[in-house]
Symmetry: C2
Subunit: 333 residues, 2 copies
């Protein structure tokens, strides 16, 4: 879930346009992750929060609010809320996935232990709820608490769907809505709500966040297979090794003949993977055209996100958000 | 954290007095722990929620609200909220403590895995926030989100205080306020808030919950040392083996001579425990009188809880709550 960097990318232009707001959000994050008596909390949190994440989610909240003409400061609390939820999720994800690296650095569960990651994650969840409650906006609380439930449900679904060849496209969509799109959607939506804009605009922001998140995650899943051309690189095949079913595989399994089915059963269900299996899996995906199809699906969600912005006011931030939707799929070749 | 059972105990009388409310809360819990797409969630939750917990915390919310003359239904949502927070905490605690048994049954982390316990716990946290948001009462949201943060902070503090001989009584009090008293306190307080009673009554309920929770946890910690007489039984010494510092040890360490200090350093800090060490530890606690002192402290907090109820209306539920405060320390001999 990282965005490549280069000059004048949309999220960099957003960073520049929202510099004051972002600075205030960073101060708020640093203030709220403090704990007088449990110094382990800011240590673990800082490791993750200050490790060069791009703050895409809080930026979306700030951008949505500003684009809607919001002039107060509550959007900063909501942006910090969103980042805390995201960080808590990362801490727990790394425990669940037994990950060793995130953003090129050792994970918190490796540097400290699983216990610290679980409990500090819980602390950040609680802090995020305190922050959102401070806004006193019940609709915002409703949106964000619903998002938190969808995220957790999606994570459990992903856990039980792994290694299971009967996973459908519907389940896949639910998993990625949970793990990625729900927070993108809520992050955008609350910006419109806090600005008290008419329903169609709020709905437009929600649809944008949903499409952006889905496109982003589908692109990530496709890149794990080397992109639509299916070229093996050093970061290819993690999902295959972890026996996670993403869209390219789900479609290839659905069209498998008996021999191919036996291959997926052995490698994904039984977990018996041998030399050359990754190459063969990729060959099957290419043969069934599912890498190209996944790219087309991601492009479709990206276009849907961009289109949803049409009801929003004409504004430089709106253009940057639209460009961001293009950008997350532009890395797919 | 279990209460012994026998006929006509205060929590059993509360159960009878609140039967209709409790039935409604149980239905609400069952309804909200469902997940259409992730059946793992209700499986794990049911294992814990329906495993004969005594529902002390949700009963306190119901009792506080009814005692304050509340006639609506929002207190049931708050009671379910409190039980969900408690259940989520248990799931994560058992992962952190690597526990194998809870309430005499295998833990969820053993029956399923740590991943499920972490993620289902997150789901229940999110569900608890959805439930409390539904009440639309911002003060209640404030109290419960603060409690969630204090709980998580206390858990982290406990983690870093373990095996650390410089742990003070202040830190101990903070840990048990976090792990136990914060939720008892919030559970009682929100009952008064939802009933819109005057501030002194709400404050009385909060003080009651705080005292009850602290007395309860101190009693639990003392029983882990065999009670104030320090008799070794089959459930004695878990905290010693896990190198957790509770009040009897903290005070004995503070008064240790050089030889005793070396004993605590070896057994607690270095974790080098040998046959006969538990007996020697207990001997030190008896010699310094810290078991008796801990009992006196617990009795003091219990009395404080009982006294705080004086400002509340005269009501059978108030008497049961007062009796409950006596009961949690009556098991100490």
């Amino acid at each position: 879930m990282s965005l490549d960097t280069a000059a004048t990318q949309p999220h960099e232009r957003m960073q520049a346009a929202l510099a004051d707001d972002l600075e205030a959000v960073n101060l708020l994050i640093r203030d709220r992750m403090a704990s007088e008596h449990a110094p382990r909390i800011p240590e673990v949190t800082a490791h993750l929060v200050e490790a060069g994440g791009k703050r895409v989610r809080p930026m979306l909240t700030l951008a949505a609010a500003r684009l809607c003409g919001y002039e107060g400061e509550a959007h900063r609390k909501l942006a910090a809320t969103v980042e805390f939820i995201h960080t808590a999720t990362l801490l727990h994800d790394d425990v669940v996935d037994e990950s060793q690296k995130r953003r090129g650095r050792p994970t918190a569960n490796l540097l400290w232990d699983n216990k610290s990651s679980v409990l500090v994650g819980d602390y950040l969840f609680a802090r995020s709820f305190q922050l959102m409650v401070e806004t006193g906006n019940l609709r915002v609380l409703n949106i964000l608490s619903n998002a938190a439930a969808v995220i957790a449900e999606g994570e459990v679904l992903q856990l039980t769907a792994a290694m299971n060849l009967s996973t459908t496209e519907d389940i896949y969509l639910q998993v990625i809505r949970g793990k990625t799109a729900a927070l993108f959607r809520a992050a955008c939506e609350v910006g419109g709500v806090i600005a008290e804009r008419p329903e169609p605009m709020i709905e437009g922001l929600a649809t944008y966040g949903d499409g952006l998140g889905i496109a982003f995650q589908m692109a990530d899943d496709l890149l794990d297979w080397g992109g639509s051309s299916g070229a093996i690189g050093k970061n290819t095949g993690d999902d295959f090794r972890e026996r996670k079913l993403t869209l390219p595989v789900i479609r290839a399994v659905a069209r498998a003949d008996a021999t191919e089915r036996a291959f997926w059963e052995r490698t994904i269900e039984k977990g018996d993977q041998r030399d050359g299996d990754l190459e063969q899996a990729m060959d099957l995906l290419r043969r069934h055209g599912t890498l190209e199809e996944t790219r087309a699906e991601a492009m479709g969600w990206s276009a849907r996100a961009r289109d949803a912005l049409a009801v929003l006011p004409d504004h430089p931030l709106r253009d940057m958000m639209a460009d961001l939707a293009d950008y997350v799929v532009a890395r797919l070749t």
